[in-house]
Subunit: 460 residues, 2 copies
Amino acid sequence: MPERLVVIGGDAAGMSAASQARRRRNRRDLEIVAFERGRHVSYSACGIPYWIGGEVARERDLIARDVATFADEYGIDVKTNHEVVGLDLSTRTVSVRQVDIGVIEPVAFDQVVMATGAVPVRPDLPGLDAPGVFGVQTLDDGERVRAAVDEGARRAVVVGGGYVGLEMAEAMARRGLEVTLVEAAPEPMSTLDTELGAMVREAMTGMGIAVRTGEKVVGVEVGQDGRAVAVRTADTSYPADLVVLGLGVRPDTALAAAAGLPLGETGGIRVDHRMRVLGEDGVWAAGDCVETRHLVGGHAVHVPLGTHANKQGRVIGINLGGGYATFPGVLGTAVTKVCDLEIGRTGLGEAEARRIGFQSVAATITSTSAAGYLPEPGSVTIKLVAERRTGRLLGGQIVGRGGAAKRVDVLATAITAGMTVEEMISLDLGYAPPFSPLWDPVLVAARKTAEAVESAEYRH
Amino acid sequence: MPERLVVIGGDAAGMSAASQARRRRNRRDLEIVAFERGRHVSYSACGIPYWIGGEVARERDLIARDVATFADEYGIDVKTNHEVVGLDLSTRTVSVRQVDIGVIEPVAFDQVVMATGAVPVRPDLPGLDAPGVFGVQTLDDGERVRAAVDEGARRAVVVGGGYVGLEMAEAMARRGLEVTLVEAAPEPMSTLDTELGAMVREAMTGMGIAVRTGEKVVGVEVGQDGRAVAVRTADTSYPADLVVLGLGVRPDTALAAAAGLPLGETGGIRVDHRMRVLGEDGVWAAGDCVETRHLVGGHAVHVPLGTHANKQGRVIGINLGGGYATFPGVLGTAVTKVCDLEIGRTGLGEAEARRIGFQSVAATITSTSAAGYLPEPGSVTIKLVAERRTGRLLGGQIVGRGGAAKRVDVLATAITAGMTVEEMISLDLGYAPPFSPLWDPVLVAARKTAEAVESAEYRH
């Protein structure tokens, strides 16, 4: 009898774990069953805004692999429309409900992977559940928003100015809607320090999106037919044919909590460096439902992102397959784009560093992403945060054009390596006129920050 | 009486040294005189192909700062058309010839910076000095090539398929010339391993450039008027109205050698980590005339590139100004572009690693520089070379489109930090559909190379 692995959740984390485990253990040794409550497995939720905006033509383009592929090529039995509603660790059984017909049946397992993902944050406000109010977490959500746009919605209000909010606002503006973005923080993209967030606001305004910051949403107004007609803030209300919630997500841990699995301060399932659920044997967890460690601050964080889900799933699959792999943690690296403005961030922001007790210095520079004598070199603004005294790079933020955002990868690598800004000055980065000025903006920022570190020392 | 600093050569290295020294020492403390034999200081030689190709409109756009700026803003006395023809370390005097009138006068110094740059490699072949054969090392060279193109040259032959050769071939093809590139190596861009060089050849051929590799130039044929009319190889000859030499450069050390300064195996002046000429007090050297250390192999290398010249000059200026700075060495990082094909490399190639005695494994992957479901995501090929047993990253090469080349900066940072390919797999690099697939190509390459490292171990 082969061992049986049950995977709960058929997206990035779960299917990566399943695929990697299969690479190392064959069917006679390990049976793999994955349960997914939705219609699809292994799709790109991050691609939804591009589908709604029209850059991606078809929903199925967002689906990396389908059920048949998993069955035929990997020998993984994927059951969509199957929701795991119970997890019993003493009997090592899950209870699985067939969504369409409602029948619940027990399935025994030897090993289990929790990959239940996240659920959108929906504050308890009047009208938020009304028709016309959409999340953008699943392909099904995306389909509903796209349908509403196709059916002629003219005015959209996006609540929340994080990545998803920004991308959705742009997507709908591309489709010709009149878009308002409402955000409680002083600037959109609150994972940036405010002076860089202001540059994002400007780009959005430039493409005709009305950006209302410092405004807290207090509810959604509904019409006589019960549909959403406006988003109400403390001061005013914004008419809407369509409301998109971009307030972020929280770990979906209903099943884990009921089974007594340990949850951390961020609400995510607690795992060790090999993605084993703490204190449980043969129970693994990965993706948007777990909390992980910040590589700079060491604190627990919840960073729901497909790239971590995928890496963590891979780590589980390797370990489960008898190999050895670890997931050390994250830097909170993120990149996105609003119109042609690129945004990147990694590590700690200045405010964030202060909040968790780092003494830091910061410097901001503006340069270009190509030689200044070429036509229209994109402007690039970089802010670096370094630890006082040591000069160790703690974080960086980039806003700019023409190849600005992915420069954040150099910062992420330098942070991971524990480099100081002084050391970074000597980095042998690529130079050619179409790609960089003689001093790459990253190096200019490192120089300025190293000078700030030096003068902070003189002052003490 | 202030100390006097004489800078020999007014381009990137020399003027960076001068400017940095000035930031730390005022005019009453340090007098700075820079001698430049050409007409211009502080210009971008790397920009010449873009000027010839028409992307840069005016020659003066390539000049970062002029003589008046240095005088007025920095208090640096720059003398163009002044060639230093002698250096006497016992009397601490340079002999300076005014190029226009031929008069030679002695100038005393306390400190001297050798920033004499490089001279084009010109093999001793018949016809190579004929009119119609051009280098592209200085703005004056560039002006001559541009004039020849403007005057109606129709056929150009570029000798040498390195960066400059490639960029010049493309520039002239843009201007409508019929261009042939002749290269002795099996593929253009011999700093890439051959399988990646083949991709470069394909891109060049695709834009109508005739690429003739494996052909050694034996001379230039001249017409009755003494002008170049064709480039002759062992087998055939290629008609040319215009011949551009892109055979690289060698350190210009005539002055240094005559003064008895130590030269290394690469022909460059030998300096220590603070850019002091070995064994000499108050004598500094930087830029294309020095040799430096390869950060991976530890061997001496000569890498003539403005970015190193600038950094090294800055190090001199800081040290000369009483501060402390070092230049650790280089990775040979380089990026360029042929049409829309981006090319990047850093560290050791596979053949190079073997040549200097590393045992290594390599892996090559092809991925995309954006999510696969977006329209036309650029293809990216990455080859990584890692040390056997340790898995330490030794080098990487990238050929691709849509943001491929500057990914080499992540590799350069990882190499500098001594990271292994296994460690790189966990790097928190930025992900969003317009910028990367869920697994950035760099991470895919790291995974594949880590697997190669692992299986190389099993085989032994």
